[in-house]
Amino acid sequence: MSKLLSIPIQREMFTGYSAAIASACSYGAGALVAQKIVADYSSPVVGSAFSLLFGVTIVATLFGRQAFQNRYLVSRKSLLFLVGTGTSSAIGVVFYFLALDYGPVVLVAPIVGAYPLVTIAMSHVFLRNLEKVTLRMVLGASIVVAGIAIITLGRG
């Protein structure tokens, strides 16, 4: 019985891990597109602004109707956190580009690339009731961040 019950949970976890890997692939490809935009067409802030504008237009076209129908499910608290998500993401992007104006990419990119460690620290402090941070997770994330820093230095 317990085995039967665990199958949907395993399937959901598989979806979660697959979505994270697919998201990393999308962002990885997106970074190359951004590189092309910044090299040939616009400054980073203008490129980000128009990419976001087209992104939100596409998302609204695809999911706007469903989101509008579900608007009653969005509590004030959830709305506040999701607006916070958009704001902190915009702050991250703007300060990343500002940092690149004052320092070389080999210095800036590894520091910004360490953001998963910030998330882990915040999860440990503020999200204790929602998720558990394990030693294995911290070790894995630290090695990933170190690896990304080495790759950045190698490409720089």
Partner: protein, 141 residues
Amino acid sequence: MLAVGLSLIAASGFGLTSALTRVGLEKVHPKTGVLISLATSAGLTIALAFSLHADEILDLKPLAFIWFIFAGIVNFPLGRLLNFVSTRIIGAAKSSSIIGASPLVSTCLAVTIGTESVNFPILVGIFAVIGGLTIILSEYQ
């Protein structure tokens, strides 16, 4: 020193994004969450772009908009939506650790379809990232 400070603020912004997403999506579908989050990011960034680079925006080439649309598709309906789905299911810490490995994909694409070549530090970095991801993914077992 200023660059380090600005980089730390950027890292904190990205780190905070994942943590806030986890709480924001507790009772909200990721599609709705992405729309609210993107609309906020877009509003702020467009206001900043127009206030700092209005002249540049008026002089943009038409071909630039094709690239903006392409970047919009790759990063947002795909990247951010999948990011939100994974954050909701496996949590902010695990999800951001895996997604944080995205420069590995950029590097692999730059080497395979671009003009960049692999050197020793890049190889060491690639193995380190794969090792770190293996440790994180081993929790799935």
